[in-house]
Amino acid sequence: MEIIRPSVSTPQEEDIAEGQAINSLMEQCRSQIADPDRWIDEEIKRNILLTTVDAAIAWARQRSIFPMIFGTACCAMEMISASSSRFDLPRFGMDIIRFSPRQADVMIITGTITWKMAAAARLIYDQMPEPKWVVAIGACAISGGTFRESYSVVPGVNHIMPVDVYVPGCPPRPEAMIYGITRLHAKIVKGTFDNPSLSLPK
């Protein structure tokens, strides 16, 4: 009788594979990914006949975005504060915080992303269904912050995924976070039809 050996890799092999994955990701992410503003105009041209429907869809979307939190550092504390009763982020429709990327619309990155974590962040971003948005909160997520020159920190999360809204601060106040979310709402509406009253500041 033949014994079937399952192909199980050793921890050593797994470590080497992980290292290769991280190194290849670092090679791929040398330059910044442009912020997703340019394709908005194309979208408008394509969907010009459906503006009324799109307006309704965008309105609905804007008021029920489910966040996928990615709290890796101290900015996460501010986000917890923002989503609790005092600052009350759920009144903007972000009631249900999702811990599964498959049910989320917006990924909120709060904190430093290291290259070891970047692979996981990219995987989670890829698992989120379209349409999806990314909010980078805090100096570390925007540009690497104080750790920008470090050997292990991603110099801005826009190296690994396109970012829609940046909220600066170290860490930003919950009010700033809420303002960032309202800007994201404006962007969601603008993504399907052009509304001057909600346009983003230049």
Binding site: D15, E18, I22, K116, E149, S152
Partner: protein, 146 residues
């Protein structure tokens, strides 16, 4: 309050037990020869009156001419502590004996030092990168990195 032992006295005592082990003993620390580190560590742990059964921290410092390894030992029995130091004078492939077989607490800290300084610990059961990933080039906490 933990009593910090005088390094000069301990150094004299140590030099009698293991000749040539102590390079210098100051008030704050005992500097020992890197080749005799295992013997010194065993002596520190097993000698009655010293009984250093607890290693709180292992760390490394890069002084460009040499690497200095710092071990802080504590005896829970007598509630006293001592700082043990050793120096490695090579930058290319520095090797030192591991104290993990004597104090299990050194396991992760020696792995971290191996990771960030590139100092190899001979006799360590599992010397693999702890914080960095496989295939990372260079040793980030060395002063000539970048």
């Amino acid at each position: 309050m933990t009593i910090a032992l005088n390094g000069e006295e301990i150094g004299k005592k140590l030099n009698e037990a293991i000749p040539g082990a102590v390079v210098s003993g100051t008030k704050t620390a005992v500097l020992v020869d890197a080749k005799q580190l295992t013997k010194v560590a065993e002596y520190m742990k097993s000698t009655p009156g010293l009984d250093f059964d607890y290693l709180t921290v292992v760390t490394a410092v890069d002084y460009l001419e040499y690497f200095e390894l710092v071990y802080r030992l504590v005896s829970l029995k007598y509630n006293h502590s001592l700082i043990l130091k050793t120096r490695i004078y090579t930058r290319e492939d520095p090797v030192v004996d591991s104290v993990t077989p004597i104090w299990r607490a050194a396991y992760y800290q020696e792995r971290e030092i191996f990771d960030l300084f590139g100092i190899k610990f001979e006799g360590h059961p599992y010397l693999k990168p702890l914080l960095l990933w496989e295939g990372f080039k260079g040793y980030p906490l060395r002063r000539d990195y970048l």
